[in-house]
Amino acid sequence: MPRRTRRSGRDQRVRPQRHKDVLHGAGRHRAHDFRCTGCRLDVSLVAPGTAHRNHCPNCLTSLHVDLRIPGDRAAGCGGRMEPLSLTVRPDGEWMLIHRCLSCGRLSANRIAGDDNALVLVRLALRPLQDRRVANSALLAVR
Protein backbone atom coordinates (compact mmCIF):
# COMPACT_ATOMS: atom_id res chain seq x y z
CA MET A 1 0.00 0.00 0.00
CA PRO A 2 1.54 3.36 -0.95
CA ARG A 3 2.32 5.70 1.87
CA ARG A 4 0.20 8.85 1.83
CA THR A 5 2.46 11.82 2.33
CA ARG A 6 0.15 14.48 0.89
CA ARG A 7 -2.82 15.49 2.94
CA SER A 8 -6.22 15.67 1.34
CA GLY A 9 -8.96 18.13 2.22
CA ARG A 10 -8.73 21.64 3.57
CA ASP A 11 -5.73 21.28 5.86
CA GLN A 12 -2.82 21.58 3.43
CA ARG A 13 -0.37 23.05 5.95
CA VAL A 14 2.66 20.88 6.62
CA ARG A 15 3.05 20.08 10.28
CA PRO A 16 6.51 19.06 11.50
CA GLN A 17 6.77 15.51 12.73
CA ARG A 18 6.03 14.98 16.40
CA HIS A 19 8.86 14.35 18.78
CA LYS A 20 9.10 10.72 19.80
CA ASP A 21 9.57 9.85 23.46
CA VAL A 22 10.08 6.18 22.82
CA LEU A 23 13.60 5.22 21.85
CA HIS A 24 13.91 2.20 19.63
CA GLY A 25 17.46 1.47 20.73
CA ALA A 26 18.98 -1.26 22.84
CA GLY A 27 17.09 -2.22 25.98
CA ARG A 28 13.83 -0.60 24.91
CA HIS A 29 10.68 -2.45 24.08
CA ARG A 30 11.44 -2.52 20.34
CA ALA A 31 14.97 -3.87 20.74
CA HIS A 32 14.01 -7.43 19.94
CA ASP A 33 12.05 -7.15 16.74
CA PHE A 34 12.12 -5.25 13.47
CA ARG A 35 9.80 -4.65 10.60
CA CYS A 36 10.74 -5.92 7.16
CA THR A 37 11.17 -3.24 4.50
CA GLY A 38 10.11 -5.60 1.75
CA CYS A 39 6.90 -7.21 3.02
CA ARG A 40 6.24 -5.20 6.26
CA LEU A 41 6.26 -8.33 8.38
CA ASP A 42 7.00 -7.91 12.09
CA VAL A 43 10.02 -10.11 12.70
CA SER A 44 11.28 -11.27 16.07
CA LEU A 45 15.03 -11.34 16.52
CA VAL A 46 14.80 -14.74 18.19
CA ALA A 47 15.50 -17.19 15.38
CA PRO A 48 16.05 -20.94 15.45
CA GLY A 49 19.56 -21.85 14.43
CA THR A 50 21.18 -18.43 14.42
CA ALA A 51 21.90 -15.64 16.86
CA HIS A 52 22.36 -12.97 14.20
CA ARG A 53 19.18 -12.64 12.24
CA ASN A 54 19.42 -9.78 9.79
CA HIS A 55 16.82 -10.63 7.16
CA CYS A 56 13.09 -11.24 7.00
CA PRO A 57 12.22 -14.96 7.09
CA ASN A 58 9.35 -14.44 4.68
CA CYS A 59 10.89 -12.51 1.78
CA LEU A 60 14.61 -12.64 2.82
CA THR A 61 15.00 -8.87 2.43
CA SER A 62 17.54 -7.12 4.62
CA LEU A 63 18.54 -3.54 5.44
CA HIS A 64 21.94 -1.93 4.87
CA VAL A 65 22.96 -0.76 8.33
CA ASP A 66 26.39 -2.35 8.91
CA LEU A 67 29.59 -1.04 7.34
CA ARG A 68 32.53 -3.44 7.70
CA ILE A 69 31.87 -5.47 10.84
CA PRO A 70 28.46 -7.15 11.27
CA GLY A 71 26.59 -5.29 13.99
CA ASP A 72 28.59 -2.05 13.96
CA ARG A 73 25.60 -0.05 12.58
CA ALA A 74 28.02 2.38 10.95
CA ALA A 75 26.67 2.46 7.39
CA GLY A 76 25.06 5.70 6.35
CA CYS A 77 23.17 4.10 3.48
CA GLY A 78 20.13 2.43 5.04
CA GLY A 79 18.96 1.04 1.71
CA ARG A 80 17.03 -2.14 1.10
CA MET A 81 19.11 -5.24 0.44
CA GLU A 82 17.71 -7.91 -1.86
CA PRO A 83 18.77 -11.57 -1.72
CA LEU A 84 21.19 -12.09 -4.60
CA SER A 85 22.47 -15.64 -4.42
CA LEU A 86 23.30 -18.57 -2.19
CA THR A 87 26.70 -19.90 -1.23
CA VAL A 88 27.73 -22.95 0.75
CA ARG A 89 30.28 -23.03 3.53
CA PRO A 90 32.82 -25.86 3.59
CA ASP A 91 30.77 -27.48 6.39
CA GLY A 92 27.66 -27.54 4.17
CA GLU A 93 25.83 -24.57 5.65
CA TRP A 94 23.91 -22.29 3.32
CA MET A 95 24.75 -18.59 3.35
CA LEU A 96 22.65 -15.86 1.82
CA ILE A 97 24.34 -13.07 -0.15
CA HIS A 98 22.52 -9.74 -0.12
CA ARG A 99 23.09 -6.77 -2.38
CA CYS A 100 22.10 -3.25 -1.44
CA LEU A 101 19.70 -1.82 -4.01
CA SER A 102 20.87 1.70 -3.22
CA CYS A 103 24.67 1.43 -3.22
CA GLY A 104 25.37 -2.08 -4.54
CA ARG A 105 27.31 -3.36 -1.53
CA LEU A 106 27.32 -7.11 -0.88
CA SER A 107 27.02 -8.91 2.45
CA ALA A 108 26.70 -12.52 3.55
CA ASN A 109 24.63 -14.02 6.36
CA ARG A 110 23.71 -17.51 7.50
CA ILE A 111 20.19 -18.67 6.80
CA ALA A 112 17.91 -19.16 9.78
CA GLY A 113 15.80 -22.18 10.60
CA ASP A 114 12.51 -20.45 9.83
CA ASP A 115 13.50 -18.90 6.49
CA ASN A 116 11.09 -19.43 3.63
CA ALA A 117 12.22 -22.68 1.99
CA LEU A 118 10.46 -21.96 -1.29
CA VAL A 119 12.25 -18.62 -1.74
CA LEU A 120 15.56 -20.27 -0.83
CA VAL A 121 15.14 -23.04 -3.39
CA ARG A 122 14.07 -20.55 -6.04
CA LEU A 123 17.24 -18.59 -5.30
CA ALA A 124 19.36 -21.74 -5.52
CA LEU A 125 17.78 -22.74 -8.84
CA ARG A 126 18.13 -19.31 -10.44
CA PRO A 127 21.52 -19.96 -12.13
CA LEU A 128 20.22 -23.21 -13.60
CA GLN A 129 17.26 -21.64 -15.40
CA ASP A 130 19.43 -20.63 -18.34
CA ARG A 131 20.43 -23.75 -20.26
CA ARG A 132 23.15 -22.06 -22.34
CA VAL A 133 25.74 -22.38 -19.58
CA ALA A 134 24.78 -25.99 -18.90
CA ASN A 135 25.22 -26.80 -22.57
CA SER A 136 28.64 -25.18 -22.70
CA ALA A 137 29.64 -27.06 -19.54
CA LEU A 138 28.66 -30.32 -21.21
CA LEU A 139 30.73 -29.35 -24.23
CA ALA A 140 33.69 -28.72 -21.93
CA VAL A 141 33.38 -32.23 -20.49
CA ARG A 142 33.41 -33.96 -23.86
Binding site: S85, V88, G92, W94, I97, D130, A140
Partner: protein, 129 residues
Amino acid sequence: MSSDHLAHQHRTTPSAALSTDTFTCVRCGLTVSSYAADTTRRNHCPSCLHSRHVLDQVEGGPSACGSRMSPIAIAVLRTGDWTLVHRCVRCGELSSDPVCADDNQLILMRMAVRPLADPPFPLEAFGTL
Protein backbone atom coordinates in the same frame (compact mmCIF):
# COMPACT_ATOMS: atom_id res chain seq x y z
CA MET B 1 41.13 15.28 -32.39
CA SER B 2 40.59 16.51 -28.87
CA SER B 3 42.22 14.92 -25.84
CA ASP B 4 38.79 14.14 -24.42
CA HIS B 5 37.97 12.06 -27.45
CA LEU B 6 41.34 10.32 -27.19
CA ALA B 7 40.71 9.42 -23.56
CA HIS B 8 37.33 7.98 -24.44
CA GLN B 9 38.83 5.94 -27.24
CA HIS B 10 41.50 4.66 -24.90
CA ARG B 11 38.93 3.52 -22.39
CA THR B 12 36.80 1.56 -24.80
CA THR B 13 39.45 -0.05 -27.01
CA PRO B 14 42.82 -0.69 -25.35
CA SER B 15 45.93 0.16 -27.27
CA ALA B 16 48.19 -2.55 -28.64
CA ALA B 17 50.61 -2.19 -25.71
CA LEU B 18 47.81 -2.59 -23.17
CA SER B 19 46.18 -5.53 -24.90
CA THR B 20 49.37 -7.56 -24.54
CA ASP B 21 49.51 -6.84 -20.80
CA THR B 22 49.46 -9.96 -18.62
CA PHE B 23 49.17 -10.90 -14.94
CA THR B 24 49.98 -14.06 -13.03
CA CYS B 25 47.23 -15.82 -11.11
CA VAL B 26 47.97 -15.85 -7.37
CA ARG B 27 46.57 -19.35 -6.95
CA CYS B 28 47.38 -21.48 -9.99
CA GLY B 29 50.23 -19.40 -11.42
CA LEU B 30 48.72 -19.17 -14.89
CA THR B 31 49.86 -16.20 -16.96
CA VAL B 32 46.67 -14.49 -18.10
CA SER B 33 46.21 -11.63 -20.52
CA SER B 34 44.64 -8.61 -18.82
CA TYR B 35 42.04 -8.17 -21.54
CA ALA B 36 39.64 -10.87 -22.65
CA ALA B 37 38.89 -11.60 -26.28
CA ASP B 38 36.00 -9.12 -26.29
CA THR B 39 38.39 -6.35 -24.99
CA THR B 40 36.83 -6.28 -21.52
CA ARG B 41 39.16 -5.96 -18.57
CA ARG B 42 39.73 -9.27 -16.77
CA ASN B 43 39.84 -9.39 -12.99
CA HIS B 44 39.98 -13.11 -12.30
CA CYS B 45 41.89 -16.07 -13.63
CA PRO B 46 39.84 -17.94 -16.28
CA SER B 47 41.23 -21.29 -15.15
CA CYS B 48 40.64 -21.32 -11.38
CA LEU B 49 38.44 -18.16 -11.17
CA HIS B 50 40.45 -16.74 -8.28
CA SER B 51 41.04 -13.01 -8.02
CA ARG B 52 43.06 -10.52 -5.96
CA HIS B 53 41.76 -8.00 -3.45
CA VAL B 54 43.00 -4.77 -5.01
CA LEU B 55 39.84 -2.65 -4.83
CA ASP B 56 38.25 -1.52 -1.59
CA GLN B 57 34.52 -2.19 -1.90
CA VAL B 58 33.41 -0.07 1.06
CA GLU B 59 35.05 3.27 0.38
CA GLY B 60 36.33 2.71 -3.15
CA GLY B 61 39.86 3.17 -4.35
CA PRO B 62 42.77 0.77 -3.92
CA SER B 63 42.73 -1.69 -1.05
CA ALA B 64 45.58 -2.27 1.38
CA CYS B 65 44.77 -5.98 1.66
CA GLY B 66 45.98 -7.39 -1.67
CA SER B 67 45.16 -10.96 -0.68
CA ARG B 68 43.61 -13.77 -2.70
CA MET B 69 39.88 -13.79 -3.37
CA SER B 70 38.15 -17.12 -3.88
CA PRO B 71 34.92 -17.56 -5.87
CA ILE B 72 32.03 -18.48 -3.58
CA ALA B 73 28.78 -18.00 -5.47
CA ILE B 74 27.09 -17.27 -8.76
CA ALA B 75 24.50 -14.54 -8.98
CA VAL B 76 22.14 -14.00 -11.87
CA LEU B 77 21.38 -10.44 -12.89
CA ARG B 78 18.01 -9.39 -14.25
CA THR B 79 19.46 -9.50 -17.75
CA GLY B 80 20.24 -13.21 -17.29
CA ASP B 81 24.01 -12.75 -17.19
CA TRP B 82 26.00 -14.62 -14.62
CA THR B 83 28.05 -12.75 -12.05
CA LEU B 84 30.76 -14.25 -9.92
CA VAL B 85 30.86 -13.37 -6.20
CA HIS B 86 34.36 -13.37 -4.72
CA ARG B 87 35.33 -13.34 -1.05
CA CYS B 88 38.72 -12.27 0.22
CA VAL B 89 40.32 -15.11 2.19
CA ARG B 90 42.06 -12.64 4.54
CA CYS B 91 39.53 -9.94 5.38
CA GLY B 92 36.29 -11.53 4.14
CA GLU B 93 35.18 -8.71 1.89
CA LEU B 94 32.83 -9.56 -0.97
CA SER B 95 32.95 -8.36 -4.55
CA SER B 96 31.07 -9.25 -7.71
CA ASP B 97 32.58 -9.54 -11.17
CA PRO B 98 30.91 -10.45 -14.46
CA VAL B 99 31.71 -13.85 -15.91
CA CYS B 100 33.97 -13.89 -18.98
CA ALA B 101 33.23 -16.05 -22.00
CA ASP B 102 36.36 -18.19 -21.57
CA ASP B 103 35.96 -18.89 -17.85
CA ASN B 104 36.18 -22.47 -16.64
CA GLN B 105 32.68 -23.80 -17.22
CA LEU B 106 33.16 -26.78 -14.94
CA ILE B 107 33.95 -24.66 -11.89
CA LEU B 108 31.05 -22.34 -12.73
CA MET B 109 28.64 -25.25 -13.01
CA ARG B 110 29.98 -26.81 -9.83
CA MET B 111 29.33 -23.61 -7.91
CA ALA B 112 25.86 -23.30 -9.39
CA VAL B 113 24.72 -26.76 -8.31
CA ARG B 114 26.58 -26.81 -5.00
CA PRO B 115 23.66 -25.61 -2.78
CA LEU B 116 21.45 -28.37 -4.18
CA ALA B 117 23.96 -31.08 -3.35
CA ASP B 118 23.45 -30.71 0.40
CA PRO B 119 20.16 -28.93 1.15
CA PRO B 120 19.37 -28.06 4.79
CA PHE B 121 15.79 -29.31 4.35
CA PRO B 122 14.34 -32.20 2.32
CA LEU B 123 13.56 -31.23 -1.26
CA GLU B 124 10.99 -33.98 -1.79
CA ALA B 125 8.16 -31.72 -0.65
CA PHE B 126 8.76 -29.41 -3.62
CA GLY B 127 7.83 -32.18 -6.04
CA THR B 128 4.22 -31.94 -4.93
CA LEU B 129 3.97 -28.20 -5.55
